[in-house]
């Protein structure tokens, strides 16, 4: 696609808006306190949404984005999960705030400000919408606190969430758990990746564990 329209740079000569690359904008936000999965519906949209979370519960509470729901040709919902850290045992809910961003095809109701369209007449920027904004990108490890002193109480995206399966020998047979990795608030400037129970799959008479990994990308945003 050729250049079209407007290009705006900030005082550091970094591109803010151009005619090619669109801004994701806020569609929905809210708070949840769940132990398990919860689906939040969005307006039908062929563009995939992204979702960010901000844990607000205790340091042993875990939450994350489980997946997005797709029914051709539209994305229809985001599913979140919450629970308690697997290592501490027991079961409890996790409270967190969420934001869902997407590419909206319709303009905002704002009658004042700036809109930029691309050559296909798709909205690139609309000052009447709240844009998705990345603040920091880092690498984190499950079980280790990730600190971000430059940003207080941001929202987070992490990728990938990891999976695990753990069998616990407890005579004569113990449970087999499916685990998911999520994040929990440690302070206003730190989080920690932790495992939480997603499902009990059966019983076993042996101890075993299998995990897809422990490192993940953490993206701070607002």
């Amino acid at each position: 696609m050729s250049e079209y329209g407007l290009k705006i740079k900030n005082s550091d000569s970094e591109v803010q808006i151009d005619s090619l690359y669109r801004n994701y904008v806020l569609e929905k936000s809210g708070s949840l306190d769940i132990n398990g999965l919860q689906s939040i519906s969005i307006a039908n949209n062929p563009n995939p949404p992204i979702a960010a979370i901000r844990p607000t519960g205790g340091t042993d509470r875990v939450c994350g984005v489980f997946d997005v729901s797709y029914s051709s040709p539209n994305y229809t919902a985001v599913r979140f999960f919450g629970g308690k850290e697997f290592a501490g045992g027991g079961s409890a809910s996790c409270s967190f705030d969420y934001k869902i961003f997407t590419l909206l095809e319709s303009k905002s109701a704002e009658a004042y400000g700036l809109r930029v369209y691309d050559a296909a007449e798709k909205l690139v920027y609309d000052s009447g919408r709240i844009p998705f904004k990345i603040l920091e990108v880092g690498s984190a490890t499950i079980g280790t606190t990730y600190s971000h002193p430059s940003h207080t109480d941001p929202y987070y995206i992490f990728s990938p969430w990891h999976s695990g399966i753990v069998g616990i020998y407890y005579p004569p047979q113990g449970p087999v758990f499916s685990l998911k990795s999520g994040i929990g608030k440690q302070s206003s400037t730190s989080i920690k990746g932790m495992w939480t129970i997603c499902a009990q799959l059966g019983v076993t008479n042996m101890n075993f564990a299998d995990f897809s990994g422990t490192t993940f990308t953490i993206i701070l945003c607002e």
């Binding site: 803010q16 808006i17 984005v65 400000g113 992490f158 990938p160 999976s163 897809s212």
Partner: protein, 99 residues
């Protein structure tokens, strides 16, 4: 430094876009089925910082999204190696520029 760029204000005078703001822009997204791993060069991300991640689509408790990484201008996505009861999910991979 002298002023550079554009300020956008709303109807009551609040600044919506300032000359120092960093705006996150979608540089690339792509949908992939569960078994696929691949890579692609994105010339448009040359010299800029990006946040890259995968979002699972219609997942279940046994599935995990791809690992996404960047080397130079190349974005790569790979599936995990699994042993028991784990498999890759369909996913959408995103690349956002944030400077």
């Amino acid at each position: 430094m002298s002023d550079f760029g554009l300020r956008v204000k709303d109807a009551v005078g609040n600044t919506i876009l300032s000359i120092t703001d960093k705006i996150t822009r979608l540089m690339w997204k792509s949908s992939h089925t569960s078994s696929a791993g691949n890579s692609g060069e994105l010339s448009q991300i040359d010299g800029i910082l990006t946040g890259n991640f995968a979002v699972p689509v219609n997942a279940d408790v046994t599935k995990t999204a791809h690992i996404v990484s960047r080397s130079g201008n190349v974005i790569s996505w790979t599936t995990f190696s699994y042993t028991i009861h784990l498999s890759p999910a369909d996913c959408v991979i995103f690349c956002f520029a944030y400077t």
